[in-house]
Symmetry: C2
Subunit: 406 residues, 2 copies
Amino acid sequence: MALIVQKYGGTSVADIDRIKAVAMRAVETAKQGNKVIVVVSAMSGETDKLTAFAHDITGRPDEREMDMLLSSGERVTSSLMAMAIMELGYGSISLTGRQVGIITDSSHTKAMIESIGSDRLKEALDENKIPVVAGFQGINELSDVTTLGRGGSDTTAVAIAAALNADICEIYTDVEGVYTADPRLVPDTRKMERISYDEMLEMASLGAKVLHERAVEFAKKYNVPLVVRSSFNNAPGTLVTKEDGDMEKSVVTGVAHNKNQARITIMGIPDRPGIAAAIFDDIAKANLNVDMIVQNISVSDNATDLSFTVSKAESEKALEITQKVSDKLNAKGVDMNKDVAKVSIVGVGMQSHFGVAAQMFDVLSKNGINIMMISTSEIKVSCVIDVGQVDAAVQALHDSFELAKQ
Amino acid sequence: MALIVQKYGGTSVADIDRIKAVAMRAVETAKQGNKVIVVVSAMSGETDKLTAFAHDITGRPDEREMDMLLSSGERVTSSLMAMAIMELGYGSISLTGRQVGIITDSSHTKAMIESIGSDRLKEALDENKIPVVAGFQGINELSDVTTLGRGGSDTTAVAIAAALNADICEIYTDVEGVYTADPRLVPDTRKMERISYDEMLEMASLGAKVLHERAVEFAKKYNVPLVVRSSFNNAPGTLVTKEDGDMEKSVVTGVAHNKNQARITIMGIPDRPGIAAAIFDDIAKANLNVDMIVQNISVSDNATDLSFTVSKAESEKALEITQKVSDKLNAKGVDMNKDVAKVSIVGVGMQSHFGVAAQMFDVLSKNGINIMMISTSEIKVSCVIDVGQVDAAVQALHDSFELAKQ
């Protein structure tokens, strides 16, 4: 008998028929002799609808209030799902983040889980019920509702799987698994059978939207095996697990891209120590996530240019802060470009192979694609390019590294 | 400086424009030097939408899950309202039933408030904020979400006003106050300036939907002055307060009616002590509210008929239970009639006037209206009649007791 955590995303619970279908899947899993915990997202469209309400009221909604607002979506799904499971003759109970004991810090709209209880979940499982947890939410020490950010329900599921030492955490979505590149861009893309946490982490952070980055980090830390699969069919999905001898040894595992990027450049900063600290301190205090950072030393005029990328959603706020910092530093000015995107190659095999980055630059160059920024890690190479050239870049890299072949 | 609790119903917060208008009213009240607490219902239509979802899943939704589901509606309004108030430059914070410390019993879908905290509300008021409380909800001792039943937001508002010793509790709705009869039925109906708790209690329980019965009971018990008024204009509304010398001394204050009724009759019950107890014990255990009860003694065959009314929504469940009780008691059978309604006259003056009931029966008779059941209290007389004759009955009674005149 295994303990299985099943997380169902927004499209998997988009309407009452989908909720009934998912309830049936959970009950089937339980009837096969497993203990099952279900974690649900808001019905697709709900979060966007509520966000639009808030923006009709104010340009800058208070973040505590946004959490109160958005957390209602998952509560609705969890109670409807519990009813659907009961209607199939199986015991069930909906539980909010608070009721599960998910305690977070107070970073509203992007809170981090600090601890998680297991009493009510264990009690429900002991009573042969399928508990249905409202994903994406917890409470802070003031007992205020917090949310874990977009994709936070993945994190809820993995955190629960870790806390209860589950055998597996299944992430159900509307795609069949993790692909070597976005199937909408690359026709001959291939679904991976397995991928390591580290590779998945890079893929997730690079914009492969199938799994949330923080969920993968959590899974890696607590060694929770993840399966990404579709709730619309019975295809086996992709296993995300720790690297082992069986892991595919291809140099490059996949091509990821992210069009939701903006590049901000501070030009002509007087070159002295502490510049970067001055800039990114203020940005961090505003709770903005900076992705790539590139600094170019300019020998001629003893000044430097510094560029970084943020998500489009946070770009205006970041620009405002950067403008102030630029004035403080007596820099020449600030430039923002929202027509950029990031394309990346990922693979654990890269660590033991030379020339992978060079091959990437070569492919892009031969396709007439200009590289604006470069950033590398042990298992990935990312380039910021013009957003209009992303599709061509992904296809060319997929071909060049022969990802369609097993 | 007064402490004012303002409760806004579903139509008053039906969309974003309405929410902004209500926020402005709350801020205006605060700027006039008052402390203001806002209590909100779900946006109109939301509760019905969620209820329809549940009924698409199951014929008999679990009540704990219904509470989890429906309580989300008020949370949405409370956070949006807090944002709208902040957008006007005033401090605000949304608070759930739990965060306000509303502890209830465990009668899901119709829970009773057992205690109520004031720490977070006082803290918010001390910080010059307008707290916005999600109405209709609390938690029980298991920390599960409960709801107070339809109209429960009125109860939340009055309970908070009582706990904080507020100067007044304003109930904002889409009508301008309490009328001598339903304006949709009686063209020359008149808005009352004042009405006593007891009269309002009878009006509310008799189907005048403007205020929830339990809220009025609560207000009476803790002597909280209520004002019923419209959020769509600045008309003064109706004050609901304790009876005093200034109170209008008319014999009959208003005519109420309730079309949401069903009559159940058990026929031919062997006449022996304990019959009524046997029947209503089982019905009470099922948490059903019985309204009128009439038992007719039949001398001829040593058997009795017993009739009672319940709301249409609970009638099928009540019928099922009554059928079982009927079998157990060897009664002749059970009959249900859903085409009935109740029409009532209310007034504190009745206590010192004879012939009021007789005048009512006479008016109905002269209008060809057959009376099926009669029930009286010190300040009201109710008759169950055919639902098709309600409109005529209300108009005739309004005329006969000259309610259009001040």
